[in-house]
Symmetry: C2
Subunit: 248 residues, 2 copies
DNA sequence: ATCGGAGTGTTTGCATGCAATTCCGGCTTT
DNA sequence: AAAGCCGGAATTGCATGCAAACACTCCGAT
């Protein structure tokens, strides 16, 4: 009884269960601090305890669960400070990426991907009214900018560190980009983000490493501002991914 | 057939095998790039494949192994650049710890642990001749300084990031502290390190956050200098932990 | 009333064995 | 000769079942 005419997506049990359980934890199917019981959960997910154990271990490495030797796994809780710190940490790491990018730049043609994502964003803001599609594109272009910046740092080690830091649901560059913000008047923040991107590119192109680092750090702080406004609006807060893990 | 009158240390099979295999990989029992075969290895370690799988997964998260879905695990190789980057990354993160420490300092008595490790080091350098015991104490005091600095940052998130970054064998604060250096004339670097510690403490005490960050970053660069001199001396290089994983 | 400890039930830790996939050698085909 | 192809061997992925460790309760002793 295994992968035969089973679920169409499939891959491995472990891979499937990882996606499932990660979403469950982030969506708050467990209380923060709750002890996870393997047997009921394996029944619920439809996998046996062996792959489930691997999944739990993986999510613990991502920071969603805490591991207690011989006593299983517990769902993590995050304080507001944790979230601010996670955002700042990303700022520090992306600042390092920007600095290394400016220090290690060889050929200015390597800046093309950054340039393109900036141009893509500029095009999005041309029309007066912003659509939901534009929002989706924005998320994508934003992710591309950050990925290209990391590429330019030419550092596997930094890539690893950023991947790890962003595995927390609140830390990623798009964690607090909410469509409500985008569609409402408060598109100012998006324009400011775009301006940051331009300046970061400029700093790298001119090999102004300190300026590049500082700008990238400051850029991450936009996430704090989005978080702050979400924290003040009950309705808005609900659309924040992982909000159930936050201790308010 | 399980933990009965077995090995006296024990704990769990997984814990034992983790320690064993980690040392084996770092000591170069495998070629970088080599594919690890579960069955022979589980026989060699005396554990079954289930705990071994957990161990492999864990070492992959630490960065020693690369994971290839449905194709097992492969031993990582590191370039000289990777090592420099890992050291720099630690510098960046400890710089952040120092900055946060200075920004978040509440009570100057919290600085006592830093002060104590500095005084301990000063005592070590009083006698003319340095002993092997002194070297061991130095390693310990150094670790304590770095741990206390991290405590002062009051950031779980940063703690997590530093732990992850330092899980690579080359990145930890004591990775390139070699007893040969310590005992030879070149104890200058140790005095410089001590001076850095003093200045970092001073910056934190005065809430000079930028100075604290910059100093802690520069402090990490001492590891680069130790690495450089190790790279120029075949004999010395041999005593570097994990050297077999470095592509020269 | 509190503490210690035996007995019981629940949960984690692991070994075995089988299914499915990948790898690899030699073979056929063009 | 190069490319594809087939079949067996090696290897990973997983389910089951059992043993050890822990949590809990109840009882007796101080």
């Amino acid at each position: 009884m295994r992968k035969k005419s089973e679920s169409p997506d499939a891959a491995s049990q472990t891979a499937r269960a990882t996606l499932l359980l990660r979403e469950m934890v982030i969506d708050g199917h467990f209380q923060p601090g709750e002890h996870i019981k393997e047997i009921p959960l394996s029944a619920k997910l439809g996998v046996s305890r062996i792959p489930l154990r691997l999944v739990l271990e993986r999510l613990a490495h991502e920071g969603l669960l805490e591991i207690r030797p011989t006593r299983g796994f517990v769902v993590q809780q995050f304080s507001a400070t944790d979230i601010y710190d996670a955002i700042d940490l990303r700022g520090v790491l992306e600042g390092t990426a920007a600095r290394l990018a400016s220090e290690r730049l060889r050929d200015s043609r390597d800046l093309l991907p950054l340039q393109q994502s900036i141009e893509g964003m500029e095009a999005l803001f041309q029309p007066r009214k912003l659509t939901l599609d534009a929002f989706t594109s924005y998320i994508d272009l934003n992710a591309r900018f950050h990925a290209s910046l990391l590429d330019l740092s030419h550092s596997r080690i930094l890539r690893r560190a950023i991947k790890h830091a962003c595995s927390l649901p609140f830390a990623s560059p798009s964690a607090f980009l909410l469509k409500q913000h985008f569609l409402a008047d408060s598109r100012q923040l998006f324009m400011i983000a775009l301006e940051h991107h331009r300046e970061i590119l400029d700093a790298i192109a001119n090999r102004e490493s300190m300026r590049a680092e500082t700008l990238a750090r400051e850029h991450a702080r936009l996430a704090r501002r989005n978080l702050d406004s979400a924290l003040q609006d009950r309705e808005l807060l609900k659309s924040v991914r992982g909000v159930k893990l936050i201790e308010l």
